[in-house]
């Protein structure tokens, strides 16, 4: 039985690819580097779109990266059910690519904000959260300047009604996100995006907890090894 292969994309300006790859390895999978300019997923079983400032966040956070050759493959793969996780800038990219609804805009406080936050799991049935139980609490870092999740009122209602709000800030969204939303999923549950950084919470030595590790373990369960 070979290890599950999880791709980690690097765009120019990606920062948390090393952390995401480490989290993938700690969870027991093989991390496969994917390059923004290659329209090739290298046969991976799942993809992580990590955080950072892809293309300097120029134009609009995630806007340019969403058009990169690798993202065309990710969009096609997601339609086939490929598990895709977007973290922070990765979440912004997935929204820009149309894989997830809504958008991320400037924090209510208008500054970059780096804090440890508690998230509540709202949906434990996605490809990336099935190792959690609904109601579980995670202590993980949030670090972003455009982290406030917003969506049209009917979109928010639809997300609420269909249980697609995967993570919420337990103690209120410090960035002013609508409905306290920290992360959402698509209808099929294979694509998840969240602003806080589970890859920074996989080792108590360097993070506030190991609560983020289960995201990376979850995807192993759904992928035939």
């Amino acid at each position: 039985m070979s290890a599950t292969r999880v791709g980690v994309i690097t765009f120019p300006g990606t920062l948390d690819d090393v952390d995401a790859a480490r989290a993938v390895r700690v969870a027991g999978a093989e991390a496969v580097p994917l390059w923004h300019g290659d329209a090739d997923l290298r046969g991976v079983d799942a993809v992580v779109v990590p955080g950072g400032f892809s293309y300097g966040d120029y134009l609009r956070a995630g806007a340019i990266a969403s058009l990169a050759p690798i993202m065309r493959e990710v969009v096609d793969g997601a339609a086939r059910g490929l598990p895709v996780l977007g973290i922070c800038n990765g979440f912004q990219i997935l929204c820009e690519a149309g894989l997830l609804p809504g958008a991320l805009v400037a924090n209510a406080g208008l500054t970059f904000l780096c804090r440890e936050v508690v998230l509540t799991v709202g949906n434990a049935e996605t490809a990336w959260t099935c190792d959690y139980a609904t109601g579980d609490e995670l202590l993980i870092p949030l670090k972003s300047q455009e982290g406030r999740y917003v969506a049209a009122p009917d979109t928010l209602s639809a997300l609420e009604d269909s249980g697609r709000i995967v993570f919420r800030y337990r103690d209120g969204a410090p960035n002013g996100a609508s409905n306290g939303i920290a992360g959402v999923t698509n209808e099929a549950g294979n694509v998840v995006g969240l602003m806080p950084h589970p890859e920074h919470a996989t080792d108590a030595l360097t993070g506030p907890s190991t609560d983020g590790l289960a995201l990376f373990r979850s995807v192993l369960a759904g992928v035939p090894a």
């Binding site: 120019p12 952390d19 970059f112 780096c114 670090k143 080792d203 030595l205 360097t206």
Partner: protein, 781 residues
């Protein structure tokens, strides 16, 4: 603008503009020896200009004048400080050099930390640009120090920022502080470098001259060490990274305006002399450089910072064995009609210069293409000993490079202690200041001090910095030192801290500078690391003021003599003069950074009361009545006078050895350095860091409770040990000749001080965390 000779709208105009650039060549300089030159406006003295003419045997060309004027500036040449800085070298023993792979004079110092790993680190100032334009000034300060670290062949792994501002409620502080913090975060966060520590200090002396110092640490395998030199005739000079424009040109615009009459025009918009940063380009440049290093494609490398290409080409050539030829027509420009002088002086950010063998040029270019980094061969290493630069087919520079880069003027500035002022300061001791006496007065004073601008939580600042990125940050502010893992397989890592209490330095520059060194050293030791090397950023007033030069020379001697006792060499640093408002200088502020190594970061000593309830709380080091220059005197009475605390570096070393040994054996469950605010503030911070109270008695600390709480005697650390290990540790401290007092034990949700009463953690937290948000606004909703 009125009188512009160029039509402002058409592309043709751009071409015309470019064509009208007058080339002041070596030939024309020879032909017009008596042409007046604006050397004084460029900051050169009469005798300096005369020396340039003597070196060249003719008048310099515009381009040469631009190069000499910027390279002979105080900032680049260290002309006022050089005679004093030599003392660092003179006091560094062979033993201290044992781990040093590169020292003063290189882009940054490099020390070996074992297992084939080396670490490079340096702190540098960006004070004046940050006052003019806080965001970009601070941002490019980060960018510059990061490129210095890259130029050594290292991957940057952490940054930190010692900052000084005017009073927290001064109107201009509300302008500069948020901009500077935002600039540091905006640039550093985008580079993916964890910000692990720094300082924020408020004092009236910085109101018109804030200090922005930036520290960067890099890690490399010892075999990857790169130095800045150009050797090997025929080797190519490659400029890579961003394009070159009119930003950050500063004084050289004097030459430009002479050439142009009036220099507005298409593509020639006058740009601010503060540079504008693009951190995205720098992040890509970091990855590109590392790939180039690992592929073995680089012979020598230099970053482009202050003085731009002038500095990079002359330093590379000066440090190498041959000459160099550079063709400015090859330099990719982002503005049209730039003169040779402007191209050479531009401080456009995010640029590097590499020396590459001809056979590796194609491979070098391929790596740059992968990272979409612009790279251009702009010249080559030549036989001989001249730096020759051509532009539009004419030779515009022909100089011996050493005379530009390394043989600039050296000044023996007058050094004189202002006896009247200094003696009056020393005589005005803190003894007569009214002190709190009753338990309720002492309790109120503890809360007041916890909320003091200089002691309150810095979360408002540090919450704007990414401390998690790359997943190796083991400790970051507000811990005493930042701790970063370097090797995941072994856990080997480093600890770094910067410190300076400038009030102590004002009272006695020699002792004050040693206290800064002692505190940074102790902060590193408090994390469990072994201090290894020192960098410094010497921020002072005008070198033309003999009293300032006295402060400077005393501080340099204090640090150097202190380093000799501690066995930690100064590996590099930076001098920043002219920090003053009018003729009033800032408090002398020699910021000292200490770097230590820790064999296994899992054995670091956690910060504060991090262990379990019931741990014994011990105070290491002796407490004397030392309140001169203290935070209590400053905050409560606005007083500065008397003597600074005594410094005993032999004791600091014994204390550090004790902490490192006990820490590596896991004997300590927590620690916290005592500095500003004394034991009172250390107890508050240790309790809040651990989310755990303590019950303590101060009877054994000092003769009276006030002194025990607020004295700032050096050489003290608060530690916790498991209750069953307390006796053993007490004996161990005694054997190490380190005084120790058992204060009590951890536990509960309050700080219970027998002589004072109870202070609930919630109440302390509200006081400590409230100050900065109340002044600068909440970061979150």
């Amino acid at each position: 603008m009125a009188g512009t000779p160029f039509p402002a709208t058409t592309l043709t105009a751009v071409t015309e503009l470019a064509d009208q650039v007058t080339v002041d060549s070596v030939a024309s300089a020879q032909a017009s020896p008596d042409q007046p030159q604006p050397y004084a406006a460029l900051g050169l003295k009469d005798d300096e200009y005369a020396r340039i003419r003597e070196i060249l045997g003719r008048r310099p060309t515009d381009a040469e004048l631009a190069m000499y004027s910027v390279m002979w500036s105080e900032h680049c040449s260290y002309k006022s400080s050089k005679v004093h800085l030599r003392y660092f070298g003179e006091t560094t023993t062979e033993e201290m050099k044992a781990t040093m792979l590169a020292g003063i004079g290189e882009n940054a110092g490099v020390v070996s930390i074992g297992d084939g790993w080396a670490v490079t680190f340096k702190v540098e100032s960006h004070n004046h640009p940050s006052y003019v334009e806080p965001y970009q000034g601070a941002a490019t300060g980060v960018g510059g120090i990061v490129r210095d670290i890259m130029a050594m062949g290292a991957r940057p792994i952490a940054v930190g920022d010692p900052l000084r501002f005017g009073p927290i409620d001064a109107p201009d502080t509300a302008r500069v502080l948020p901009g500077i913090v935002s600039g540091i975060g905006g640039y550093g966060n985008c580079l993916g470098l964890p910000n692990v520590g720094g300082e924020v200090v408020f004092d009236a002396s910085y109101a018109g001259n804030p200090l922005v110092n930036a520290l960067c640490v890099g890690a490399l395998r010892t075999e990857d060490l790169h130095l800045a030199f150009a050797s090997g005739t025929g080797n190519k000079i490659i400029l890579f990274g961003a394009t070159t424009g009119l930003d950050g040109i500063g004084g050289v615009s004097v030459l430009a305006s002479e050439t142009f009459g009036d220099d507005e025009g298409p593509g020639r918009k006058k740009l601010p002399s503060v540079q504008v940063g693009d951190p995205f380009t720098e992040k890509v440049l970091i990855e590109c450089c590392l790939e180039l290093f690992h592929a073995g494609l680089v012979v020598g490398i230099q970053d482009l910072g202050g003085a731009g290409l002038s500095c990079a080409t002359s330093e590379l050539a000066s440090a190498g064995s041959g000459g160099m030829h550079v063709d400015l027509d090859a330099v990719p420009l982002r503005a049209t009609g730039m003169t040779a002088a402007e191209i050479l002086s531009s401080e456009s950010q995010e640029r590097m210069c590499a020396v590459v063998t001809p056979e590796n040029v194609d491979a070098f270019m391929a790596v740059c293409r992968k990272w979409d980094t612009i790279a251009t061969v702009i010249g080559e290493v030549t036989d001989g000993d001249r730096l020759v630069i051509t532009s539009r087919g004419e030779t515009v520079v022909d100089v011996p490079p050493r005379t530009v880069a390394h043989e600039g003027p050296v000044y023996e500035r007058p050094v004189a202690r202002d006896d009247a002022a200094q003696d009056a300061l020393a005589a005005d001791g803190p003894e007569s200041l009214p002190r709190p006496e009753t338990p309720s007065e002492l309790r109120a004073e503890i809360l007041r001090m916890a909320a003091a601008p200089n002691l309150a939580s810095r979360a408002w600042v540090t919450d704007q910095y990414d401390r998690f990125v790359r997943g190796n940050t083991v400790a970051a502010a507000p811990t005493d030192a930042g701790v970063v893992r370097i090797d995941e397989s072994t856990g080997r890592g480093i600890a770094v801290a910067t410190d300076c209490n400038a009030r102590f330095v004002a009272l006695d520059p020699y002792v004050g500078a040693q206290l800064a060194l002692a505190e940074a050293y102790r902060n590193v030791a408090t994390s469990g690391a072994v201090p290894l090397a020192v960098t410094d950023c010497l921020n002072f007033g005008s070198p033309e003021d003999p009293h300032v030069m006295w402060q400077f020379s005393q501080a340099v001697r204090g640090i150097a003599d202190g380093c000799a006792v501690l066995g930690t060499p100064v590996t590099g640093g930076n001098v920043s003069f002219y920090n003053q408002t009018g003729t009033t200088a800032i408090l002398p502020t020699p910021v000292v950074g200490v770097l230590g190594v820790i064999d296994d970061v899992t054995r670091r000593i956690p910060s504060g009361f991090a262990g379990a309830d019931g741990d014994a709380v011990l105070l290491l080091g002796a407490t004397r009545e030392e309140l001169g220059g203290s935070e209590w005197a400053h905050e409560v009475h606005g007083h500065l006078g008397g003597r600074p605390p005594a410094v005993d570096l032999e004791h600091e070393r014994r204390l550090g050895d004790l902490l490192a040994a006990a820490g590596s054996q896991g004997a300590l469950t927590g620690s916290h350095d005592l500095s500003d605010g004394g034991l009172a503030q250390a107890l508050v911070e240790a309790a809040l860091a651990g989310g755990r109270g303590a019950s303590v008695t101060l009877g054994g600390v000092a003769a009276d409770t006030f002194t025990a709480l607020f004295s700032e005697s050096a050489g003290r650390v608060l530690v916790t040990v498991p209750a069953d290990g307390a006796e053993e540790f007490l004996a161990r401290a005694a054997a190490a000749d380190v005084a120790v007092v058992r204060l009590g034990e951890t536990g509960g949700d309050a700080l219970r001080i027998a002589e004072v009463g109870d202070l609930g953690l919630d109440e302390l937290r509200a006081a400590w965390e409230g100050t900065l948000p109340a002044r600068f606004g909440a970061l979150s909703v």
